[in-house]
Each structure stands twice: as C-alpha cells, then as structure tokens.
C-alpha cells in the first residue's frame, strides 16, 4: 500500500516530529492540569472549556493590548476563573463533578461566541498582527543538532514552557511534600484532614492550576499558532487531553506519551498532501490508536481513590 509507504517515509523526516511536538503541547498543558486536579480528588473534564475561554480572551486582549505576553497572562486568568467556577460548584456546592465539567464546556462554548458577537459585531473577531503573536524561538547552538535540533529546539516559546511545566509537575507531585499532600487529599481526604491538611485549600488550588494551564494552552493555540479566534477553535483537544491523562494513569510523563501519540496523528493528517490515503481516514488515526492502546496495553485505569467524591468533613 503506497499510503503506508508514504507514512513510513514521512516518519523519517524531522518536519513531522517537529509538528508532532508542537501539536502535542496543545494536549499536554491541559492534560497536566487535569492530572493535578484529579490527583487532588476533583474530577475535571472541563479542560476543553477552560482552554476555549483562554483562547478567546487571549485574542481579545492581544487585539487591545498588542502584547502577546500580557495577553497570555489574561488568558491564563480567564482559564483560572472558569476553573474557579468548576471548583466552587464541585467543592463548595458538592455538585457532581462530571456534570459541572460538562457544564463548563458548554458554558465556555456559548459565552465565547456570544461575547465575540457582542464585542466585534457582525464582521467578526479580527486577526492579530504577526508581530503580536507568541514568537517561535530557535535555541542557539542546540538547534543545529541534526534532526533533534529541529524537532526540539526550533519551536514556539510555549513549547519550551510546556516542557518545563511537564518536568515541574512530575517532580512536584511525586517528590515534594506539597505533592504528597495533594495526593493524600486525593486518596484519603478524611485521613489527610485529620492530619491537619487543609483539604479544601489544596483542592481549590489544584483546580485553579488546571485552569491556568488550560488557559495557557488556549493562548498558545490562539495567538501562538493561529492569529484569531473562531468558534470551537479548540476542536475537542481538551477531551483528548482527558484521554491522555487517563491513558497516562494520572502521571505527567505518562500523559506526555499519550499526547505525543495524538500529536503524531495530527501531524500525519497535516501531511495529507503527500499521503495517498484519504485525509478523513487519517483524521481517525489518533482516536483509533487510543482505543487500541486502552484495550490492550493500559489495562485498568484507576483514578485516585477519592476522585470525584465531594469531601464532607466528618463523613467517613
């Protein structure tokens, strides 16, 4: 099948893997947020909505402020605010966290387009000028390494940030006291509470972090890769991040591997000019791969023990 041959050739090019990493980051950031949130015991499927919100406000801010860095900050705050809603509804009101998450996603989808229409009217959201986008940065010296140089060191600034956040998350969660507490709160909140750990504060904080990271991903998408906001710009990436999180068994590094697989699927699709397989079939790749892997390799995915259970002091 020449199609498979085409893909085979493609896999040997640095361009493909460069695009893979760039795309993977769009899944990675929200996935890391999800890991943090769920490790503390709050189910979070709202990454899609938080990312969408971040993307929208990134563009709005950039069109106003003409500064990608400030705009990224605005995006993160916007994501954080959405996360706060989820946190309050889930923790304070003890709502079912899946419902709350879905509600956030619907809310974000509606609010962003509604506000875009109110602010920009019929002509639609404008485009951000090239100079006001998050820049691509080639890391000197390292980017000259054959193959790897192009793949890893010729990327958008947010890619580097994401990789740092990846390592940070893994280290914090598994090698620091703070991480231990977060995980304790996710596994045995009652015991943690008895030990003097503030369950509510840690959960709020973790959910907030997931909002900040998702907002960052939104900014990367809207003013790093694209230059405008269109309805549903996130196109389900938040949900894929969710899959990556579960696939990675709620660990950052594990999620990263999954994100790379998804990024690869997208990168292969983007190269449909050279592959003699229907672009629509190519689109299906990452999802089928995930299903196969979930079925065979990953096995039973166990979330943190108290994941999804509203914590009621004194209830256990």
């Amino acid at each position: 099948m020449s199609g498979l041959g085409d893909i085979g050739h493609l896999l040997l090019t640095a361009n493909l893997w460069q695009l893979t990493l760039a795309s993977a980051v769009l899944f990675l950031l929200p996935a890391l947020g999800g890991v943090t949130s769920e490790r503390s015991g709050v189910v979070n499927i709202a990454m899609e909505g938080m990312m969408l919100t971040g993307a929208f406000f990134a563009v709005v801010a950039d069109l106003k402020l003409h500064n990608p860095w400030l705009s990224t900050l605005v995006a993160m705050l916007a994501g954080g605010l959405m996360a706060l809603i989820h946190a309050v509804v889930s923790i304070r009101f003890r709502a079912d966290q899946i419902v709350s998450g879905i509600a956030i996603n619907i809310f974000a989808a509606g609010l962003t387009v509604f506000l875009a229409n109110r602010i920009y009217g019929v002509p639609g959201v404008g485009h951000v000028g090239d100079s006001e986008l998050l820049p691509n940065i080639n890391i000197p010296v390292l980017d000259q390494i054959p193959f790897l140089g192009q793949v890893v060191f010729q990327q958008n600034v947010i890619v580097y940030v994401a990789l740092i956040v990846l390592v940070l998350t893994q280290v914090v969660l598994f090698r620091t006291r703070l991480g231990l507490r977060i995980r304790a709160v996710g596994e045995h909140p009652q015991a943690a509470d008895t030990a003097g750990i503030n369950v509510f504060r840690l959960r709020y904080g973790s959910v907030l972090v997931s909002g900040l990271l998702s907002g960052l991903a939104g900014a990367y998408l809207a003013i790093g890769i694209s230059n405008t906001f269109v309805p549903n710009i996130t196109a389900g990436r938040g949900y894929i991040a969710l899959a990556a999180m579960i696939f990675g068994k709620w660990t950052p590094y594990g999620a990263f591997v999954a994100c790379l697989i998804f990024g690869l699927g997208f990168a292969i699709f983007a190269n449909n000019s050279f592959i003699h397989i229907s672009a629509y079939l190519l689109n299906m790749l990452p999802y089928i791969i995930t299903l196969v892997v979930l079925a065979g390799v990953v096995g039973r995915s166990t979330p943190p023990a108290a994941d999804g259970l509203p914590y009621v002091p004194g209830s256990e």
Binding site: L19, D130, I225, S226, N227, A235, F274
Partner: protein
C-alpha cells in the same frame, strides 16, 4: 410551602411574560424599501474572503441602493433551510444563499416560496442529488474560479522559470478547504497555468478539511513548505489565513483567495480574485431595477469578475505582460483552464 413556592413561580412567570410582551422592538422598514436577506454558509463572516465579500456586496447595496439588508450566519448545515425560510416567509424581496453547499436548501425553499426571489453564489437551486432544478425564481451566480487560479499559478510558474523565486526549488503548493467544486476550480487552474510556464514544476495539493480553524491550514502549509514549496496558494476561506501565516513565517510567498488579501499577511504577493461582492451587488440591483431573471449568470474575466491583484510585491514588467496575455487568451477562449484537479 408548596403553595407559596408555586405562587412565587407564578408571579415571576407572569411578570416575565408581561415584560416581554410590553418590551421588544418592532421590525423596521418602509413598506416600499427593498429587503434583502443574506444567509452565509458555516464559514462565518470572519473568513476575510468568501462570506466577507458577500457581506461587502450587501453593505454596498445598502449604501448605494438604499435597500435594507440582514445577515444570518449559519452555524451548521442544519441551519440552511430554517435560515432561508426565515427570510422567505417574512416576505423579503431577495434572499441570497452564499455557498455551494447550500444548493439543495435553496432548491427546497425556492420551491416552497415561488413568489420570493432567490440568488445563490456558487450554485443553483438543486434537488437532493445536486441536479439543477432550473427554478425561475432563482438566480445562479457561477464563477470561473479556474481563471483566477490560473493567473496566480502563472505568476508562480514564471517566477520559478526565471529563477526569481526565494529558493528556486520548482515546488509550489496549495491548501484547499474541503474538496468541493469552487475550491477545486481554483486548484485546477493553478496547477495548469504553473505547468505551462514552468514544465518542471511540482504542484503539491493538500486539504485541511476545515474552512475555519487556522491552525489546520497552517499545519498543512508547513508540511508543504517543508517539502520545498515556496508559493502557497490558500483556497480555504478563514482557515486559509493560517496557510498565509505559515508562508510568512517561513519567508516564502503566498497567494490569497477571493478577496484581495494583501493585509492578511505580508507574504501575500498576489490574490486570486472572485468578486462575490460584485455578483451580490448586481443581483440586488437587478431586483431594485425590476430586471431580475432566474437562471445562470456566469462571472468571469469576460465581465471583470475574476482576475488577480498583485500585493506586497513588485511584479517584473515582462511577467506582468505574460500574465495579461494569458488573461486575454482565457477571456477570448483561445486558452481554457480545466476545472478538475489532475
């Protein structure tokens, strides 16, 4: 307690109804003023090309002809029929559908409202199998996009042949949205003309499957640039702006589509024009002048509705002469670009 709650609910509900009944805006309009409704396809008005141009045409008619114009953006294909019906049953004088994919919807609604006039860009009123129903109340606005595609393809071909391209790789490319005829017309012309002037040229064609999200087109364009393309032609509406962006970031050239996209990105050296605004304006004017007739209207070089525009670039004089010769040849019919991608 239940009584109380119920009463509260009842009062609130009544108050709401009262408020709504007493509030609300009245519809506008002078009884004699011509009312035009425009329904866009799912690409939305922010596409900087296709839908945007139709909107420009409508605005132009509003200011120059004094008509009243309204726009509804369709979110999904589900909305075409209800949106068109909305305008039709309110008695609008002209209902315009923008886009090839709306043909069956126009066919359905035009048949239900034989006294309302319709126009559709890139198509005709058709049945479910896309067979033209030849409805007398529908004006079909067809474009020969292949001519515009050919003109920019010729620019690329000539620049490559004369060694005036950024890297002279003899590779050019195009990013299509979805593989529908208007898109493929552009691509077919592009391919054909480039090969006339530079027989050794390689033309890469990819599709983003999206007319909206710029990141997809950017990725496809980048993959093509990675394989050496130095002229990226975007035929993907709003999504395609991402392709232009990719060209800019890679320091190669790009071609805009439909509208003059010189402001979309500095890498745009020319745009393949499709004067949808002119077609829309003309359709409205025909209604205002009482000269509306159903049937096919063809827009091409012959009536100056297709063409090209040089942007952000100074085209060498001899190349410009060649291009204009090609245009004349297409106009006279001595050269005919294909409308199918090879």
């Amino acid at each position: 307690m239940g009584h109380m709650r119920l009463r509260v609910l009842g009062v609130v509900a009544a108050a709401l109804m009262l408020a709504v009944a007493c509030g609300g805006s009245t519809g506008g309009g002078n009884a004699k003023q011509i009312k035009v409704g425009l329904v866009t396809d799912t690409g939305g008005l922010n596409d900087k090309s296709f839908n945007h141009l139709a909107y420009v045409g409508l605005q132009s008619a509003i200011s120059k002809l004094g008509v009243k114009g309204d726009v509804i953006e369709s979110k999904t294909g589900d909305d075409y029929v209800p949106n068109l019906t909305n305008f039709a049953q309110k008695g609008y004088d002209l209902v315009i559908g923008n886009g090839f994919l709306m043909q069956p919807a126009i066919g359905t609604v035009a048949a239900q409202f034989p006294n309302i006039k319709f126009a559709i860009v890139d198509g005709a009123g058709t049945d479910a199998k896309f067979n033209d129903l030849k409805q007398t109340n529908v004006m079909d606005l067809f474009f020969k996009e292949q001519e515009s595609g050919a003109l920019v393809g010729a620019i690329a071909g000539l620049l490559e042949k004369q060694g005036k391209a950024p890297k002279n790789t003899h590779v050019i490319s195009a990013v299509g949205g979805i593989k529908i005829p208007p898109v493929d017309h552009y691509l077919a012309g592009y391919q054909w003309a480039a090969k006339i002037y530079d027989p050794s040229i390689k033309v890469l064609i990819g599709y983003s499957n999206d007319f909206n999200a710029t990141d997809k087109c950017k990725a496809v364009a980048n993959s093509q640039i990675g394989q050496g393309s130095e002229f990226v032609f975007q035929v993907a509406g709003g999504c395609g702006v991402g392709a232009l962006q990719a060209a800019g970031q890679a320091h190669v050239y790009s071609f805009g589509v439909d509208a003059d996209q010189k402001d979309a990105d500095p890498s745009v050296i020319a745009s393949a024009l499709k004067k949808v605004d002119v077609a829309v304006y003309d359709a409205i004017k025909s209604v205002v002048d009482g000269k509306f007739t159903g049937g096919a209207n063809r827009f091409s070089l012959a009536n100056d509705a297709t063409g090209y525009q040089v942007d952000n670039f100074s085209l060498p004089a001899d190349i410009k002469t060649e291009i204009d010769n090609l245009a004349a040849a297409m106009k006279s019919g001595s050269k005919t670009p294909p409308d199918v991608v090879s």
